[in-house]
């Protein structure tokens, strides 16, 4: 896959190639070919195909070619031509997200499959593979049809943009990328990243669900004698919450002294409110359960304590719900910060070997040759003896 290829950094300078028409036009119009001398009767002059004349014609062609090459090289210098070592710009890279595979219909998969087959050897990769080199994320185009999406990880550690940036680091700047993704928010949480490659966005718009989330929590409150007052407030707050909000809260009250017996019961809950001064037993502190300790509920005497408690209990759930169900607009996904020229130059130096020095050297050599070739016949061009 690694090939050497010439890549352009600033394609706009290629419009300079239009200047190639100038020497061609001059060559065609000038007729080069000697001064016009009016003569009384040219029937007396027999036309001869002399070697000198052929030489002059050859020189003219040579000059034309050299001048064209000079302009070409100059354009190359302006366009920042460089060797790219890992370029395979002929084929597109197709990236597809897990979520797209999960959400897309069979018809859409079929369409992707057909476009993959129609394309000249495009390469298909899964975009959400974390810390894997690109080659390990490769998918066969047939796999698209069978693939149902990897539903095990609902939130990706890196958003789509960051994944893209990670992948394009190893790619040439002109490599075209086709990206299939959905507009679900959880794929785009976090910072936008600047991307140099041209990206073809294929965004599947998921319908947004309008129903409210049903909040549920199973709660174990572990307390000791020192925190009875706080416990009473919490109990009251929970009662108030169940009475006013559409929440489903199951509460188990466990006394700290009986904790050893009820350890299994506590471990089954989603939240534990721990109102004890001694540290939490390690069996419960395994990360799966959200622990709320007494310090977090210091303000139990406040009027809005039920709200504080609700936030502690349901914040992560609402966040999860939001990131699953909120949708981004096309503009929000595809509009990325532009990169300035300086940054691009730096990246090009990292990715490829610049040819500036060589091109300038070639230009100088061409210039010298052009001077020599164009000056050489002028020694023989005196029109008339003694003039």
């Amino acid at each position: 896959m690694d090939k050497l290829a010439l890549t352009l950094e600033s394609g706009t300078y290629l419009s300079g190639l239009l200047t190639l028409t100038i020497p061609i036009a001059i060559h065609l119009l000038s007729k080069h070919k000697g001064k016009i001398v009016p003569f009384a009767h040219i029937a007396l002059i027999t036309v001869k195909n002399s070697p000198q004349l052929n030489q002059a014609r050859l020189t003219q062609w040579l000059l034309l070619i050299i001048r064209l090459l000079m302009l070409l090289v100059a354009c190359g210098i302006l366009a920042q031509l460089f060797w790219n070592k890992n370029a395979n710009t002929s084929a597109d890279i197709v990236l597809v997200s897990n979520d797209w595979l999960t959400q897309s219909s069979d018809a859409e998969k079929q369409q992707l499959f057909e476009s993959l087959n129609a394309n000249q050897s495009p390469r298909l990769f899964l975009i959400d593979g974390l810390n894997q080199p690109l080659s390990q994320r490769k998918l066969e185009s047939k796999a698209v049809l069978a693939f149902q999406g990897d539903t095990s990880s609902t939130t990706t550690p890196l958003n789509i943009w960051a994944n893209l940036a990670e992948i394009t680091k190893a790619l040439p700047k002109s490599q075209k990328i086709q990206l299939y993704t959905t507009n679900r928010l959880n794929q785009f949480t976090g910072q936008k990243v600047t991307l140099a490659n041209p990206i073809d966005w294929h965004i599947k718009f998921l319908p947004s669900t309008s129903s409210e989330p049903k909040l549920a929590a199973s709660l174990a409150i572990i307390s000791d004698a020192n925190h009875q007052q706080q416990l009473a407030y919490i109990r009251g707050a929970l009662n108030a919450l169940t009475a006013t909000l559409p929440v489903d809260i199951k509460v188990e009250y466990i006394d700290f002294s009986a904790l050893a017996n009820d350890l299994d019961l506590a471990a089954q809950q989603s939240h534990i409110i721990y109102l004890v001064d001694t540290p939490l037993p390690t069996e419960l502190d395994n990360g799966a359960i959200t622990i709320i300790n007494s310090n977090q509920l210091q303000d139990y005497t406040q009027v809005d304590f039920p709200l504080i408690l609700a936030t502690q209990l349901f914040a992560s759930q609402t966040k999860q719900w939001f990131s699953d169900n909120a949708r981004l607009s096309n503009y929000q996904i595809t509009e990325l910060p532009t990169i300035d020229l300086l940054e691009r130059q730096q990246t090009s130096v990292e990715n490829g070997q610049p040819l500036h020095i060589w091109l300038i050297l070639i230009l100088v050599i061409l210039f010298v040759v052009e001077r020599l070739v164009s000056e050489w016949p002028s020694k023989h061009t005196a029109q008339v003896e003694g003039n």
């Binding site: 016009i36 001398v37 027999t46 029109q383 003039n387």
Partner: protein, 298 residues
């Protein structure tokens, strides 16, 4: 005759009659022609009879009065028409490449003919003019007199060179008038495309006319001094050829020599005097050549 007038000096003199007179007077300088006597109307003198004089010339009335034989003489009257024929095709615009202010062939020919016209006028000969170009045909019938000379000069100054030598059919009706006891001076470069000048010369010659043909050349045509790659353009056909001058020079000179040879032979066959004149040489030198050639014929 040693001190010729520099053509460049003459070229700067825009007054054609002045040039003609200056050159002609230089040419005639020192010639004191005795009065030509012969048969005519205007009386000149009596002279004593000498054996061999025709008896019809003796003035018998005078013999009756003086008892001597006298012969009555009159001033000779010229009955010769001088025809000036000028080729006004575009090729006559050729001039030497090194001089931009000098005369081209056409100017040179005009001044030469003006000078001849002046001399002819001085001699009392009739003067006619024919300017030949397919664009513009100038024709002036032969008549003697000063007015005719002035008309002739006017025509010569008005004449413009351009286009090609006209077809002989166009000139045909003018030619009939020229066959009558005439001396015809033809000035041309004799470059033709379809034998039109040869045809014209052939139709011009008859036993009553003497023809002197002056072939004008420029120094460039004679020596072909060009170098390098040159695109030659024909002045008449505008055809262009690209050649290396050095390579074609030898062939050109050879072809030119053959062309001159052919021209000479053709003219000789028609009893036409052929003279070559170089436009970079003084006008009076050519004139001298020209007129002495005419005298040779007589």
């Amino acid at each position: 005759m040693e001190q010729f007038l520099d053509p460049l000096v003459l070229a700067r003199v825009k007054d054609m009659p002045l040039v003609a007179k200056t050159v002609a007077q230089g040419f005639l300088h020192g010639l004191h022609n005795s009065v030509k006597r012969g048969t005519g109307i205007e009386f000149s003198q009596y002279r004593a009879y000498e054996p061999g004089d025709a008896l019809s010339n003796i003035d018998w009335k005078l013999f009756a009065r003086s008892d001597r034989y006298f012969v009555r003489e009159a001033e000779r009257e010229s009955n010769i028409n001088i025809w000036l024929v000028l080729d006004a095709s575009a090729s006559m615009l050729q001039q030497a490449s090194h001089s931009n202010e000098g005369w081209n062939k056409f100017d040179y020919a005009r001044h030469l003919l003006a000078t001849i016209a002046y001399i002819a006028h001085q001699q009392g000969d009739g003067l006619g003019l024919l300017g030949l170009s397919s664009k513009n045909l100038h024709f002036l019938p032969a008549l003697p007199g000063k007015q005719q000379w002035q008309k002739c000069l006017l025509q010569l100054s008005d004449m413009q060179a351009g286009d090609v030598f006209p077809d002989s059919t166009i000139i045909q009706n003018h030619l009939a008038k020229m066959h009558d006891n005439a001396v015809i001076f033809v000035v041309s470069d004799f470059y033709e495309h379809n034998n039109e000048i040869f045809d014209f010369m052939t139709s011009l010659s008859s036993h009553k006319t003497e023809i002197v043909a002056l072939q004008l050349e420029s120094i460039d045509e004679v020596t072909f001094p060009y170098q390098g790659h040159i695109r030659f353009e024909d002045r008449e056909t505008k055809q262009q050829i690209l050649v290396s001058a050095k390579d074609v020079r030898a062939d050109y000179l050879k072809t030119r020599e053959a062309f001159n040879q052919n021209l000479s032979e053709h003219l000789a066959a028609n009893h036409i005097q052929h003279i070559q004149g170089n436009i970079d040489e003084p006008l009076d030198k050519t004139l001298h050549q020209f007129l002495s050639a005419r005298q040779k014929m007589l």
